[in-house]
């Protein structure tokens, strides 16, 4: 999965930084299974479109919709550099179909 575009940059009063990423693949359940190797994934079913959240404690969290290509990422500002590297590595290492092999 590749990041095509990064939008918005917002600093929140709670010391977090928000960024929005548009990626080249839709997020599937398979993608979320892969994310589980890195942190805690939660999926809310029975919505018009399932919602997911991902949490890597003390580094970053992601939220988005299953079937969507946008990831909303919140970083802790004090760990922004290493968290951003961890996030992009996690995303770019994902290859659809990998879990089946």
């Amino acid at each position: 999965m590749q990041i095509l575009k990064t939008n918005k940059f917002k600093r929140c009063v709670d010391g977090t930084v928000l960024k929005e990423y548009f990626v080249d693949e839709v997020v599937t359940r398979e993608t979320l299974s892969y994310f589980e190797d890195y942190g805690k994934v939660k999926i809310l079913e029975n919505l018009k479109q399932p919602f997911f959240s991902f949490l890597k404690e003390e580094f970053f969290s992601i939220k988005g919709m299953v079937g969507d290509q946008t990831l909303y990422v919140r970083y802790h500002e004090e760990h922004f550099e290493e968290s951003h590297v961890l996030f992009t590595t996690m995303i770019e290492r994902w290859i659809p179909g990998e879990l089946e092999n």
Binding site: E45, N46, Q49, Y72
Partner: protein, 380 residues
């Protein structure tokens, strides 16, 4: 096909706008502006004068020159609060409440930090400010009381007649922030015991962002904090005392004020009473339906204006708003709504606000209810 957007964020900015508002805004560019004192053009429409007349009539004000146009309600509150302090010219005591928006709280706190006033913020318990709470907070040196007419979080409307009678009897200046009520709740500040009443153009008066204004009863109680060109009396060294020039320096927002004039006309033709009864009907329907959903908690189950804030057990307001938009195309507002103090009694990180306008329909409400029901269902 993309699903229709359900816009329920009208307490921030109303959308859509009536066609005549958009036509009025674009129409001003068809000829050079009639700029009083600033041009030799004589046959173009006087948008500013027309808007001043219609806004004055709308608010029951007999002196149109006491209607001042600004860039927003926030701008108006800053001009009035700081202008009052400058005119008063000695430290004083001010009163406000925990229901207020930052556009009230921040200018007052700034004065407090500068040593120009001491500030009492009344901690309310319900959705309404009781006149006796104001009375009990008053001191011999109380010179300014600032109250929001309608809460942008709880949807409650304050009894400004009772509060104003009490405040003005004491000799204090009574400033009312009408950002949430003007256009959707009957209010005629010209006939009420208020010293100044602030409105915004882009909410229930259906104008554009970047417009607002205020009514001031006695301009001598507030100094102008903005000085500049007025188009007349250019040889004068200082800002003229003449109204409305005293508070209006610089070239006005012609398209915005023309749109405000059209928006006020739209609301007047529809009738504020009709708008209110329609919105109250939809709001009651929403309150009842949301109140019956397990896990949904309402901040106020009897709002006076169509503003309804809620939370779903176990979820952050930001996530609820995110799902409403991404999965259902329902637009709301999440977080603290620039009114941090009122949230302290519910949830420090804020709630989800639904706010209607007269452009909403029952179908919009149904879509929102279904979506919220499904979201709350995921938490069981």
């Amino acid at each position: 096909m993309t699903e229709p957007l359900i816009y329920l964020n009208n307490a921030a900015t109303t959308w859509p706008k009536p066609p005549e508002v958009l036509e009025a805004a674009s129409g001003v560019f068809s000829s050079p502006f009639h700029e009083h004192g600033r041009t030799t053009v004589r046959d173009a429409p006087d948008y500013i004068g027309m808007a001043r007349e219609s806004v004055a009539k709308f608010f029951g004000v007999s002196q149109p020159e006491h209607i001042i146009f600004t860039s927003s309600a926030t701008d108006s509150l800053n001009l009035l609060i700081h202008g009052f302090a400058r005119c008063f010219n000695q430290p004083f005591h001010a009163i406000t409440t925990d229901l207020e928006h930052n556009s009230v709280l921040r200018p007052l706190r700034t004065l407090e930090r500068e040593g120009k006033c001491s500030l009492s913020i009344i901690r309310t318990t319900g959705a309404h400010v009781k006149p006796e709470e104001i009375r009990d907070a008053m001191r011999d040196d109380t010179a300014l009381v600032v109250i929001g007419h309608g809460s942008n979080v709880l949807g409650s409307v304050q009894n400004i007649e009772a509060i104003g009678t009490l405040v003005r009897k004491s000799g204090a200046f009574f400033l009312v922030d009408g950002a949430q009520t003007a256009g959707q709740y009957p209010v005629e500040p010209g006939h009420l015991p208020v010293d100044a009443f602030v409105f915004t153009g882009h909410k229930s008066l259906f104008g554009l962002p970047g417009t607002g204004g205020f009514y001031i009863r006695n301009p001598e109680q507030v100094d102008p904090i903005r000085q500049g060109g007025t188009g007349v009396d250019s040889a004068g060294k200082y800002q003229p005392d003449e109204m409305p020039l005293k508070f209006e320096a610089g070239t006005p927002n012609y398209p915005g004020i023309a749109a405000l004039n059209a928006g006020t006309g739209f609301v007047s033709r529809k009738g504020v009473d009709t708008i209110l009864s329609q919105s109250q009907w939809m709001t009651s329907y929403l309150v009842k339906a949301l109140g019956e959903i397990d896990g949904v908690g309402l901040y106020n189950s009897s709002p006076d204006i169509p503003v309804l804030t809620f939370l779903v057990d176990g979820m952050e307001s930001e996530d609820i708003g995110f799902i409403l938009w991404k999965a259902y195309r329902v637009v709301v507002r999440t977080g603290l709504h620039c009114s941090p103090l009122v949230h302290e009694r519910f949830n420090a990180s804020g709630g989800v606000r639904i706010s209607l306008s007269c452009m909403n329909t029952m179908n919009d409400c149904e879509t929102a209810i279904t979506a919220i029901e499904e979201i709350a269902g995921t938490m069981r």
